[in-house]
Symmetry: C2
Subunit: 417 residues, 2 copies
Amino acid sequence: MTKEPLGIGLIGCGTVGSGVARLLLEQPGRLASRAGRPLSLRRVLVRDVSKSRAVDLSRDLLTSDLRAVLDDPSIGVAVELVGGVDWARRAVLDLLAARKHDRAVAFEAAVAGGIPIVAALSQSLSANQIISLQGILNGTCNFILTAMSDQGWGYSEALVEAQKRGYAESDPTLDVDGTDAAHKLAILAQIAFGVGVSADAIEHRGIAGLHQNDIRYARELGYTIRLLAEAWLDTQAQNGKQLALHVSPVLLRHLAPLAQVRGAYNAIHVIGDPVGDTLYYGLGAGQMPTASAVVADIIDLAVGRAQQTFRTLRLWCSNGAGVGLRPSSTVRCRFYLRVLVRDRPGVLGLIARELARQEISISSVIQHEALDEHEGDIVPLVIMTHTALTGNFRAALAGIDSLGCVNPPSVYFPVAD
Amino acid sequence: MTKEPLGIGLIGCGTVGSGVARLLLEQPGRLASRAGRPLSLRRVLVRDVSKSRAVDLSRDLLTSDLRAVLDDPSIGVAVELVGGVDWARRAVLDLLAARKHDRAVAFEAAVAGGIPIVAALSQSLSANQIISLQGILNGTCNFILTAMSDQGWGYSEALVEAQKRGYAESDPTLDVDGTDAAHKLAILAQIAFGVGVSADAIEHRGIAGLHQNDIRYARELGYTIRLLAEAWLDTQAQNGKQLALHVSPVLLRHLAPLAQVRGAYNAIHVIGDPVGDTLYYGLGAGQMPTASAVVADIIDLAVGRAQQTFRTLRLWCSNGAGVGLRPSSTVRCRFYLRVLVRDRPGVLGLIARELARQEISISSVIQHEALDEHEGDIVPLVIMTHTALTGNFRAALAGIDSLGCVNPPSVYFPVAD
């Protein structure tokens, strides 16, 4: 080992930052042998240098001034782990501006924590046209869904347990409403399809308030509910290639690989041509799994791989030109629909008529006796449709929800087959 | 795109070779954009240039002389896909000798076809000490086991179906006796633990002749049988780190991720510190999945990543010095044991005594009425043990199989919990 150490500046020392610092300080031999040179932690930028921390950092590593990192010529890699958007963005731009040569950004940890999905899409599957991508990208939601399914808990009960275990924030909104998964899907869409799309432009529904009964009915029909971030490419569209993107709770067959993903785990199912199906599974969050991905990026930068990958990624982007976004109304799939109806003759006929008007046929129907949502003579009617245009399904749904015998709003989810 | 093309020489044009040729010829634009330069097929070495092929190759690409590849200065990457050992080894050594600079070997396709397990272990998990690795590395065996379990078929029936579908060779020995999985495990052990071990040194049992009844009893106990290649590191051993390696049918709990892997798929479950559990899943064989891995390697070579990874791999090897191989007799695990016994009083007591002599206690017992293996008064006795030393278990087994009331040989498998 004769090479110069690679100096590292850490921007932020929260949960993941202290994990990265721990790895760098506790495993210098392992990391040096894999990076081909020592990795040396030179600066740790924190808001308050006097605060006590989980990781034992010598006082002279700490600074609260970004300049101390920008101006340190011994720092070759800066690691931004601050969270938030505005300050972090400015810091990254300043850090890039402070260097003229060999600039590259690596971001394996940005999606699915310890799962090397960015490397898979940008390197290992580089011979492929990605056809589709289905991801469980939010461990909080997957934990809640698994607990509701396995323990029979209600949504609120499962959320409280997720908060107790540290899987959910005290304000869980961005996780449970699907926003976080949409952010991650935007990153994956960029790498896999070369399509630049803002997370705001991705339709997303979350799991907040999901009813235990829907989990039960789905199970009875042979399905498991998972919050999926999905992208699929239509190469046969009239006006060029079109990419559909959405985040939604989806019914998956019990034996589907993603249906088996339990608890706080993440997984991404990628179909490519020529590789076929592949799946990547692991912990999508947490201190050490995420630190594993961050330090792998640092090693890739030390070795020189990350710089080359970054150059290829840019080329790859231009490759995506010509891929348009597909309006969700034009996507075809099956639907699960639960309607609360007054228990009287002819109701099923009225609902079937609304579906038929939109050319949607029914694949199966369950009418149970009322469970706990029983109020007066209101009972749930569960319908699985055959494949339909999403736009048609939504129009039928509006018709159904305005029927006098229906207690709106009805609940629906796409079904993946 | 101003860069020079990268010239490619293909050694062998069988199933995988023609897949690689097809990708190179049919997707020049996609591959050039990802490699940063055109990939240009310059030579295809075949035994018989006049034979007709699945892929449409111009006659002047074909040669039957390795010299045509060795002496062509326009060839930057040679791809060996011949199969076999002796000729292929000499060809690779000749090809490496023909170049002096920037020599590197990439071999993603050598294990688990389209699954990027080599990249995961050598790059994405580079911050980790790998703790254990469990792989379904032979799709033929997994197809047979899944068919036996789902269809209730016998071993021979499932093998014939695997042959019909092209998953099994007409002589399936190397697949079904575990040799193929042991070869792949040796490669993974080298990358993950830096331990050079010959496949011959890895104890392996296959699935040939596996009895349908064992699949049924295992299911009844809550387990699924899979042929696993396993490596696990003991960092607490008295004489330094020790690595245990084996290939064997193993009982996995129904909900374990690897138990869900069905049909001809492969998967590898890797536990690392700090990343925790990760799993990689996909098609482990077949023309196009394997070609996907080969072409990803070519792109990595074009970009320059593969050369850097290759240098790091060598460093990584030296890191493994000091890891010894652990004798299987010292590995502790639970066991599934099926003994055919004469149905008379006291037999269970005799067997329990043999186990107790080796300090092995029984976790559960099933004694069924005889199924199809019923012969006279012979009935199967199925025992699950608590954790035991493998050496002790084997000694107990020898004792059991020499009891007068037992019809040897008894059948046993390790249990993964």
